[in-house]
Symmetry: C2
Subunit: 118 residues, 2 copies
DNA sequence: CCAATTGTTCAATAACTTTTGAACTAAGGG
DNA sequence: CCCTTAGTTCAAAAGTTATTGAACAATTGG
């Protein structure tokens, strides 16, 4: 486990909401949700912010209990704490992600990908 | 209507989440939800913060599209924009309020009320 | 009309949060 | 062993949000 994570029952509603109330972090969570189960390394999010800044935002998500980060070699593998969040705040994550998916103004991971030619 | 309110489709997810990520405002929303349909005047929330500070928080809620404020006489009548929020972010408000209801650490309106004697 | 009630505005300050760059650590590959 | 890759830490700067008190405005009851 390596890094400090709050226990499930220590996850605080206002803190989770405040942490999700940032477009960069919302984009990270949205992407994690879209790849549910697949652990992501920090590098995946490099088109959202600088390495240093990502370190900061990812720490906020982890400290709030929204994500889990595990050190593996020189990487951090990041996953959504979906089960814990669902247990603690039923329905919250689903509605946030559905809303985020419908928001054209949110930054998105991989937004600048090349079009698949016809 | 009197005061500036965003149109339903202008309500922004990160802004709503950030606005709800404050214990005082969450307590206001929770109370409005518990009295659904009954417009509240600002004074109802005086045990959460000072008059000036309430004015600030209530403006944030209104500007985010979470509440509706109408000037009536010398009062402001405040209601939750439940229909608009439900339309825009289905399920979000319900899950936030359910989570807030289960949070013993949140401040609450009327928390210092006298017990009903047996 | 006067005074009280309700709430706003303003400017100041305090307290956070976000962003940055430079320096650093730790693990792996060659 | 050295070099690269992946990410962290730190301190500074910038930006934002929250809180306060004093002054103000609008409405209404007496």
């Amino acid at each position: 486990m390596s890094l400090p994570h709050p226990a499930t029952d220590q996850i605080s509603l206002p803190i989770v909401l405040a942490v999700l109330g940032d477009p960069t972090r919302l984009a990270i969570v949205r992407y994690l949700a879209s790849k549910e189960g697949v652990p992501m390394s920090c590098g995946k999010f490099l088109d959202l912010a600088s390495k240093t800044n990502l370190s900061y935002h990812l720490a906020k998500l982890r400290e709030a209990g929204v994500t889990h980060s595990e050190a593996v070699g020189t990487s951090r593998l990041i996953t959504l704490r979906r089960d814990d969040l669902d247990k603690r705040f039923p329905g919250l994550l689903d509605s946030v992600i559905a809303a985020a998916d419908g928001d054209p103004d949110l930054p998105a991971v991989g937004a600048s990908e090349v079009e698949v030619p016809a």
